[in-house]
């Protein structure tokens, strides 16, 4: 399974602290030797300031039971970190007191500059204090105190006007929220960060690419844990610039994208794009999940798709992000196969299709019945021959022509009355202008006032219009 493991690739785009959960997950998966993962984790953490945690792993690797034996250099490093921590605590204590004071918080407003002025006037605030707050937050994050770090960065962002620091504090906050598994806040932060990236004018394409690819990787945490994430991931990743980023920098994200697209029932329209991208990138990246899509939609090889679906199961089970979607994916993958199958076939042998769906005949029948019952398709089961017969939905040319043209007359009349209305409007205006010339501004104002409420109504109805037209039209046709 190791060849499908993406931890190393994804890890390159993540913060050190964020890789820890991935490794933690790997420890439980038995893909790699236990010791190797532990060593990796030790290497990872030894560069952070989480001294105690590192020490714990060190002792685990070396099988040290004794409480008093530590990794080399443990005491010194610990002392250094603690000293730094205390130093920063002291330095930032002032501002911490300030911002934690509910009285102060109540008086803060939207305007950053006004806030700073207010604090400077009333609470002896100095700009340097913000920097120490930032440093303290960073230190907290480095030592693994994510929650306080997030809080501090939140306050920092309220007050700081420095753009670059604002961006990096937002990245920091996102990381902290992810690590504290505060998904709602993380989701908001993610969107904020996305906007910031999109609005920013990067000096080079490379920089933009880098920022986007970071965002893509970080967002995986959020999207696969937040309830809204399933739509969010599809919406975000299928934006052209992100799709390009994936194609250019990190094709392995296609796995997540494909999974998300398969699992998401509402966003079927993206499938075409997905197939295209997967085909284009098939030389750069392939795993059972993309191969499943390819087999099903490019080669229409149902047996192959079935085979791949089985493989997908393993891959997903071993993927940190996807593991929660395992069942969903299986179910939806099956549905995909069956749907496509039905679109092509008019008569299907249940036994055969059950095998394709990786079910036994009885379960298959049940499953199909359920599908039909849920009105997803127009089909009937013929128990005599043990087949499913699809309802044909063929239209004759005659029907097709009617289908295509029946909306036209309505649209034309709409057009006609539009023109007529416009004529009227123009006439009114002309009249109004004439009146103005004679009597001055009074009449014009009246005219304007008369128009205005109408317009509001128009607005509302215009919005509703699009959704209601077809049904209304259908009614008319029925009347005929």
């Amino acid at each position: 399974m190791a060849q499908y493991d993406l931890t190393a690739k994804i890890g390159a785009y993540l913060d050190r602290h964020m890789v820890a959960p991935l490794l933690e997950f790997l420890l439980g998966q038995e893909i790699y030797p236990h010791e190797d993962v532990l060593t990796a984790k030790y290497d990872l953490l030894s560069k952070t300031k989480m001294i105690d945690y590192t020490d714990l792993i060190y002792r685990e690797i070396h099988g040290i039971e004794d409480e008093n034996v530590h990794e080399p250099g443990f005491e010194e490093r610990r002392a250094v970190v603690l000293k730094k921590f205390e130093e920063l605590t002291e330095k930032s204590s002032e501002i911490m007191d300030m911002i934690q004071d509910p009285v102060v918080i109540q008086q803060l407003k939207q305007d950053k500059l006004a806030n700073i002025q207010f604090l400077t006037e009333n609470y002896n605030f100095k700009p340097e204090m913000l920097n120490s707050l930032y440093d303290f937050a960073l230190c907290n994050y480095a030592t693994g105190n994510y929650e306080p770090a997030a809080v501090m960065l939140y306050h920092f962002r309220i007050l700081s006007t420095d753009y670059d620091q604002n961006v990096s504090s937002l990245w920091g906050k996102l990381a902290a929220e992810i690590l504290t598994q505060n998904w709602d806040v993380a989701y908001d932060d993610l969107n904020r960060l996305k906007e910031m990236i999109e609005q920013r004018n990067f000096t080079s394409h490379l920089q933009a690419l880098q920022q986007r690819s970071w965002l893509i990787h970080w967002s995986l945490f959020v999207f696969f844990n937040h309830p809204k994430g399933r739509d969010g991931i599809v919406d975000l990743f299928f934006q052209p610039q992100y799709l390009n980023t994936i194609q250019t920098a990190c094709p392995w994200i296609l796995r997540y994208l494909a999974t998300a697209a398969v699992v998401n029932k509402k966003r079927r329209n993206v499938l075409k794009d997905l197939i295209r991208v997967i085909q284009q990138e098939s030389h750069a990246y392939r795993d059972p999940i993309t191969e499943f899509i390819e087999a099903l939609y490019v080669n229409f090889d149902f047996d192959g798709a079935q085979q791949k679906l089985k493989e997908c199961d393993d891959v997903i089970a071993n993927d940190f992000f996807l593991v929660s979607l395992q069942e969903d994916f299986k179910e939806n993958g099956r549905l995909f196969i069956f749907e496509t199958y039905c679109r092509i076939h008019q008569c299907i042998d249940i036994k055969d299709v059950s095998a394709k769906l990786n079910l036994n005949a009885e379960d298959g029948e049940k499953w199909i019945v359920n599908l039909i019952r849920n009105a997803r398709m127009d089909a009937k089961i013929d128990s005599k021959t043990n087949t499913v017969i699809m309802g044909t939905q063929q239209n004759s040319i005659y029907q097709q022509v009617i289908e295509r043209t029946k909306a036209l007359s309505f649209r034309s009349s709409l057009l006609a009355s539009n023109i007529e209305k416009r004529e009227q409007e123009l006439q009114n205006r002309r009249k109004g202008n004439d009146g103005n010339n004679k009597t001055g501004g009074g009449k014009k104002q009246g005219g304007g006032g008369g128009r205005k409420p109408q317009k509001e109504g128009g607005d509302e109805s215009a919005r509703a219009h699009s959704s209601e037209t077809p049904s209304a039209f259908a009614r008319t046709v029925g009347d005929e």
Partner: protein, 942 residues
């Protein structure tokens, strides 16, 4: 007289080519030895350096032979049948004629004639002034005036004779006396000198010549250099000397002169020694003395830089003989001893090699090129050995040469100004030029191509050197050149070249890379350069190379990522050509990989343009209606790629047509109702049409015939015949792994044949068994199922598969349950167009109302529409409005109907509009009313 002239001439001739040609013309009539002389002096143009060596041991004979030569030369001097003369000869001949006249007149003591002739002589002198300025006063001229003076003195002393003279004669004598005194003052120095070395009249003619030559050489030289110290004189000196040495050196076989040799030689040497003593300070400038070692002593290490400087300054000046300059530089190079000197001389020598490009052939001679290359190589050798030396293009201050040399000898770093990269560029360009001009089907071309290795080696060396002196720009340029020598070559060749370079320059410690890596590394390192052109070209070369190695995806991605296709139109022509080449190569690569559609896309633009040759710079296509200026044609010729870089155009056409066939035939079958729509490849269609229009089609002869025949077979469902024809195309053998490509093609033909079959014959079936299809097209059943499935999903055919029986059930869209008739098809197409018309109308209105600020009104209107359904009151109100609208519109369209039949179309339309707009029957009726109103309106309109 002419003897002296000859001597003087050979001393200071700067137009040796002219001279030798004219003299050889004369010499044709002379003795055999003359012949050999002229021949060798002609050939000495190219083989100077060789003659240097064999000249050496014969220095003693030189003077003698010179004499012998000019002796015989003299015979022809008076020859009136001379045809070709240089300007110089002409002038001097004129003067000589005048001198003769003076002499004759002296004999008969005719002072009038003397005066006339003397005037003539002076006129000639004035005309030849330019030449004389350059070469000094001709010996014979001085001699004449001296003789004249003596004769006059003699005449004046003889009073009786004067008295006896007639009036005119004595008047002329007096006038002459005045004139001559005045005139001779100008030449006092010369005359004195001449008198100092009086000519022994008794001596043999040859000897007189020699002496005259020796003296004459001295005199004019001094004269000019003393007075002006001009440079031109100094560079003439070696030229003259060279000529001298050359001419005389060739005479080695002349044996009959040997008898007199010893006595003359002795005398000659004495004279030469005297002359040298006389002009001691100027001795360094003079080259007539040849020493024992066989080397030319005049260039000594001490004055080397001075000479070099003179050479450099003379370069490019009018009248400077390039050939001679080159020879002199070569000689200086021999003298140069220290690396610093060598480098300096080489820096002057190599450009002078380039100067000698003859304009007639349009490229540099191969030999000259080779010399230049080896010299450049030597230059790099020195630079590599002496790391203290470095040549930089922009160096503000340069030390005095001698100081610099001293510095160099002390082991300090010395910076020389010079542009190595321009030398390299020039060498490379000349190489390409020569390849452009040599007929590629000759052995010459191949042997010329062999030189590429040495050129490539030079490039590598240069790159190393530039890397050492850290000149990033030059490094990039050189790398680019290196890439351009590599990117189109197959691995084996690159490997061989690289290996060869390593044996040529063992000092080059670069690890031998895989060709692909090599190109990749070179290109990647160029992506950071800030020269746009280099970056673009590096990218294109890289893509080309990747495509050559069947890395289609990477090549495609790189090209797409660069966004080059957007702005390639703004780049220079050479880059555009490279871009075209790259596109073609990508297309070929896609074809090899079996990606038919990608192939067609990549090749489409170039192949359908009709000027493939021009786009790829592989020859000029003769076009019927093209009017090109000669200038354009010349430029186009310059752009041509050397033959070995060409992409096989026939293969290109074959690939393009084959891929077009695989796409177009099913496409045509699918759109049988409207053949003119959705054309994928216009050229293919055109050819197919042409082929079909022919009354009789013979067996296929060329590639095109084969593909056309195959296309027709494919369209008819005969995939086997199609396959046969495609396989019969010979050109596939040019592709690597031709078997695999044929296999791929067979597979594609089967698939597309199946699709075409479906499109063409499905109307005649209710169901088709898949096993039958599989056996028909020799495909496995799952493959057939896959193809059919794809067609169903893509809605190309109306069908579905019946799984238990493994058949394809075809659904009929036609009204009669049969085939879609033409009428039905047209109805469908018509409805499509109508809906698109309405759509565009809507868009137009929207755009207009936005334009007029009437968005409001439109929204209001649509609120009214909605109102119909939501509340009765407003609906009612609206109906009035819309019926009015109907009326109005009816009026409008009625007006429009004046031009055509179907006058009630307008009203009906408006009636419909109301009906569908209205929510209930009531509204309908009122709508109809409106319609009627509209009808009336239309009548009114009429």
């Amino acid at each position: 007289m002419s003897r002296f002239f000859r001597g003087g001439e050979s001393d200071s001739d700067s137009e040796s080519e002219d001279y030798s040609s004219s003299s050889s013309d004369e010499d044709q009539k002379g003795s055999g030895s003359d012949d050999s002389n002229s021949n060798s002096s002609d050939s000495s143009d190219s083989s100077d350096s060789d003659s240097d060596a064999d000249r050496a041991p014969k220095k003693g004979a030189d003077f003698f032979k010179k004499g012998a030569f000019s002796d015989s030369d003299e015979d022809s001097d008076d020859d009136s049948k001379k045809v070709v003369k240089s300007a110089r000869d002409k002038r001097f001949d004129e003067m000589r004629l005048a001198v003769k006249g003076v002499k004759n007149a002296q004999k008969i003591n005719d002072w009038v004639a003397i005066q006339n002739e003397f005037e003539k002589l002076n006129k000639g002198y004035a005309k030849a002034n330019a030449i004389i300025q350059r070469e000094g006063v001709p010996r014979f001229y001085i001699r004449t005036i001296i003789e004249l003076e003596d004769f006059m003195k003699e005449a004046l002393t003889n009073k009786d004779a004067i008295k006896k003279m007639n009036a005119s004669s004595s008047r002329a004598l007096n006038a002459m006396k005045q004139r001559l005194r005045k005139h001779n003052k100008q030449y006092e120095a010369d005359i004195e000198k001449f008198r100092a070395t009086p000519v022994d009249e008794d001596a043999s003619a040859e000897e007189a010549e020699i002496l005259a030559a020796a003296a004459a050489k001295k005199t004019p030289r001094r004269h000019v250099s003393d007075s002006e110290e001009s440079d031109s004189d100094d560079d003439d000196a070696p030229a003259g000397r060279d000529k001298w040495v050359k001419v005389s050196g060739d005479e080695g076989s002349d044996s009959d002169a040997g008898v007199k040799k010893s006595s003359k030689e002795r005398r000659k040497l004495a004279k030469a020694a005297a002359a040298e003593a006389a002009g001691a300070e100027a001795a360094g400038d003079e080259f007539q003395v040849v020493g024992k070692g066989g080397k030319v002593f005049e260039v000594k290490p001490e004055n080397l830089f001075k000479k070099l400087q003179e050479m450099i300054e003379a370069r490019g000046k009018k009248g400077t003989d390039r050939q001679v300059q080159m020879d002199n530089l070569l000689r200086i190079l021999e003298v140069a001893s220290s690396p610093y000197q060598k480098v300096k001389v080489l820096l002057a020598l190599i450009p002078s090699r380039f100067d000698s490009t003859s304009t007639s052939t349009g490229y540099m001679g191969v030999e000259v090129w080779k010399n230049a290359a080896s010299e450049l190589n030597a230059l790099f050798g020195y630079l590599e050995e002496n790391t203290g030396l470095c040549i930089v293009e922009t160096n503000e201050e340069e030390d005095e040469e001698t100081a610099a040399e001293a510095k160099f000898n002390n082991g300090e770093d010395v910076i020389i100004r010079g542009s190595l990269s321009s030398l390299i560029d020039r060498l490379d360009d000349e190489f390409t030029k020569s390849l452009q001009h040599i007929d590629p089907h000759t052995l010459d071309y191949i042997s010329r191509l062999r030189d590429e290795t040495s050129l490539y080696g030079l490039l590598v060396r240069a790159q190393k050197y530039f890397e050492r002196i850290e000149s990033p720009l030059a490094v990039d340029q050189t790398k680019m050149r290196r890439i351009e020598h590599l990117y189109y070559k197959p691995d084996l060749v690159i490997q061989a070249v690289e290996k060869e370079v390593r044996t040529l320059y063992p000092t080059l410690n670069e690890t031998l890379e895989q060709p692909e890596e090599l190109v990749e590394n070179l290109c990647t390192s160029l992506y950071n350069t800030n020269v746009d052109r280099v970056r673009t070209r590096a990218l294109l070369c890289h893509v080309y190379h990747l495509a050559l190695h069947d890395k289609f995806e990477r090549a495609r991605d790189m090209l797409l990522m660069s966004h080059l296709q957007d702005h390639v139109g703004q780049t220079e022509v050479f880059t555009q050509i490279l871009f075209n080449r790259t596109m073609v190569q990508i297309g070929l690569c896609a074809f090899r990989a079996g990606m038919v559609r990608e192939t067609a896309n990549a090749l489409q633009e170039i192949s359908s343009s009709g000027k493939v040759k021009e786009l790829l710079a592989q020859g000029v296509q003769i076009q019927r209606f093209s009017e090109k200026t000669p200038e354009q044609e010349r430029l186009e010729k310059q752009r041509q790629l050397p033959f070995h870089m060409h992409i096989n155009l026939e293969l290109l056409e074959c690939v393009y047509l084959t891929s077009s066939m695989l796409l177009e035939i099913p496409n045509m079958a699918a759109n049988a109702h409207e053949p003119r729509r959705k054309v994928i490849s216009k050229p293919f269609r055109r050819m197919l049409d042409y082929n079909e229009r022919q009354i009789f089609t013979g067996p296929p002869e060329n590639t095109r015939d084969h593909v056309m025949g195959a296309a027709k077979a494919l369209a008819a469902g005969e995939w086997q015949r199609c396959e046969e024809l495609i396989h019969a195309v010979k050109i596939w053998d040019l592709m690597p792994k031709a078997d695999k490509i044929k296999e791929m093609l067979t597979h594609k033909i089967k698939e597309e044949g199946l699709r075409t079959y479906f499109f063409t014959y499905s109307p005649y079936y209710d169901s088709i068994g898949m096993t039958q299809l599989a056996s028909m097209f020799d495909l496995p059943v799952p493959a057939v199922r896959g193809i059919v499935s794809r067609m169903i999903i893509n809605e190309e055919i109306e069908a579905s598969i019946d799984q238990p029986t493994a058949t394809v059930i075809l659904h009929r869209a036609g009204a009669s349950g049969g085939e879609v008739s033409r009428l039905e098809h047209l109805a469908g197409a018509y409805s499509d167009r109508v809906s698109s018309l309405v759509e565009s109308n809507e868009k137009l209105l929207e755009a207009r109302s936005q334009h007029l600020g009437l968005q409001q009104a439109q929204q209001q209107q649509s609120s009214g529409q909605r109102g119909d359904r939501s509340d009765n009151y407003r609906g009612g109100q609206h109906h009035g409005g819309s019926s009015r609208g109907g009326k109005q519109q009816g009026g409008v369209s009625g007006g429009g109907d004046r031009r055509g039949p179907g006058g009630d179309r307008g009203p009906r339309q408006s009636g419909y509009g109301d009906r569908s707009g209205g929510g209930d029957r009531n509204a309908n009726r009122s709508g109809r009313g409106g319609g009627r109103g509209g009808n009336q309106g239309s009548r009114v309109g009429r």
